[in-house]
């Protein structure tokens, strides 16, 4: 039942996405026709200069290399700053003293630790997405707590019923998630939910122990995985929130076009 609902929602979101894509393509086409005309006119104007496509390609690559280098340097420095702020907030929470002496000590300690460990705490984080990830992660937590309560009730029912209808087995599924942090988030979410325990992750394959069929089916439906993918913006996840976002863009495009 839930699976069919999910499939239906997926189909719907696919259709909306497809519509939006077509619309965007049309816009792009018209834009590119304009661009072509402009380029032709420009070519007629300065045909004496004669830039070949190869040099243009080289220029583009050079600019890309510069941009990439700048971004990498920035990301290392950004990591340091982000680590420093996280650690300083942690310090203030622990210390609870707001006089100058303790805050200065907090700043010094945070700078030292951030300098030593900024490559540990924020490794594998891509530039410019941290704020979105943090916001989505915070909205994920209430849902996780709700799931934990639901499966708590289910496991309590299993344990208290006289026949104890358990059917333990080990699931093995490969995930579409890509980075270590999302694997760990999914694995810990599975372990936190009563009735399922992540035993191992090997090369993107999860080995999960499930207490009975219902728990295993819930896991197989993959909502948790979708949500984790949504947090870390990974895989080509079709997620209801994304469909809604696309729909908003679609409406805007229609109004505009």
């Amino acid at each position: 039942m839930e699976v069919t609902l999910l499939i239906q929602a997926t189909d719907d979101s696919f259709r909306i996405l497809e519509d939006a894509r077509k619309q965007a393509k049309g816009l792009l086409d018209s834009a590119s026709i304009l661009e072509d005309a402009r380029r032709q006119a420009k070519g007629l104007l300065d045909s004496t200069v004669g830039v070949t496509s190869e040099t243009r390609q080289m220029e583009k690559q050079k600019i890309q290399a510069i941009f990439k280098g700048a971004q990498e340097a920035k990301s290392s420095f950004q990591n340091f700053i982000a680590t420093f702020f996280l650690l300083f907030v942690f310090w203030v929470l622990l210390s609870g003293k707001f006089d100058l002496f303790h805050l200065t000590m907090g700043v010094i300690c945070s700078v030292v630790i951030a300098h030593l460990t900024h490559d540990l705490l924020l490794a594998n984080v891509r530039v410019g997405e941290t704020r979105v990830i943090v916001r989505r992660f915070i909205t994920y937590i209430p849902w996780l707590i709700y799931q934990i309560i639901l499966s708590n009730i289910h496991v309590a029912y299993l344990a208290l019923s006289p026949r104890m209808p358990i059917d333990p087995h080990v699931l093995r599924f490969s995930t579409k998630l890509e980075s270590d942090i999302s694997w760990v988030t999914l694995a810990n979410s599975i372990t936190l939910t009563p009735g399922t325990i992540t035993m191992d992750i090997k090369d993107g394959e999860f080995f999960v122990h499930a207490l009975d069929k219902k728990v295993a089916d819930d896991l197989h439906a993959g909502e948790m995985e979708d949500r984790v993918a949504h947090i870390f913006m990974e895989a080509d996840h079709i997620y209801i929130q994304d469909a809604l976002d696309v729909a908003r863009i679609y409406v805007a495009l229609r109004k505009w076009g």
Partner: protein, 152 residues
């Protein structure tokens, strides 16, 4: 002999936790004269964070964060800070570790001088305990053999 752990969960969680453990250790050291804790406890927590790095990332990666030389430097630097503060008190015609006498050179009241003196002692103890804890664990785990990067 300890090798780096293959388990992705352990590796990721320890990589995220180590900075917070280390900051907590510094908090314990810095607030040792108000609340439970102090140089020894904070030093042990710092050492434990390094041991956690060692058992998840293996000796060679850990040596990049703290080399054998810096372990030796930290362990003796801590003793130097401790005994140095003690001897400064002796030079100022007090007893050994009589922090009240430090008020003359720090330009603060004797009570504040005692507070700062104890903080200095805690930092010294913390350094030494951290370095010694880590080096004991490292030497036992490597079976007494010198690590590769110090052989040549």
């Amino acid at each position: 002999m300890i090798r780096s752990s293959e388990d992705i969960i352990i590796r990721t969680v320890s990589r995220i936790l180590v900075p917070f453990i280390q900051l907590f250790a510094l908090y314990v050291i810095a607030h040792g004269h108000y609340s439970p804790g102090g140089g020894f406890q904070g030093g042990v927590i710092l050492g434990a964070s390094l041991v956690l790095l060692l058992i998840t990332y293996g000796p060679s990666d850990t040596r990049r964060h703290i080399s054998g030389k810096s372990v030796a430097v930290f362990s003796s630097l801590g003793v130097l800070i401790y005994s140095g503060i003690g001897f400064i008190c002796l030079l100022l015609l007090g007893n050994y570790l009589d922090y009240g006498k430090l008020s003359g050179i720090l330009h603060v009241t004797p009570a504040e001088a005692r507070s700062l003196g104890i903080l200095g002692i805690e930092i010294g103890v913390g350094f030494t305990v951290m370095a010694i804890m880590f080096s004991i664990f490292f030497d036992i785990s490597s079976g007494g053999k010198p690590p590769e990067d110090e052989k040549e």
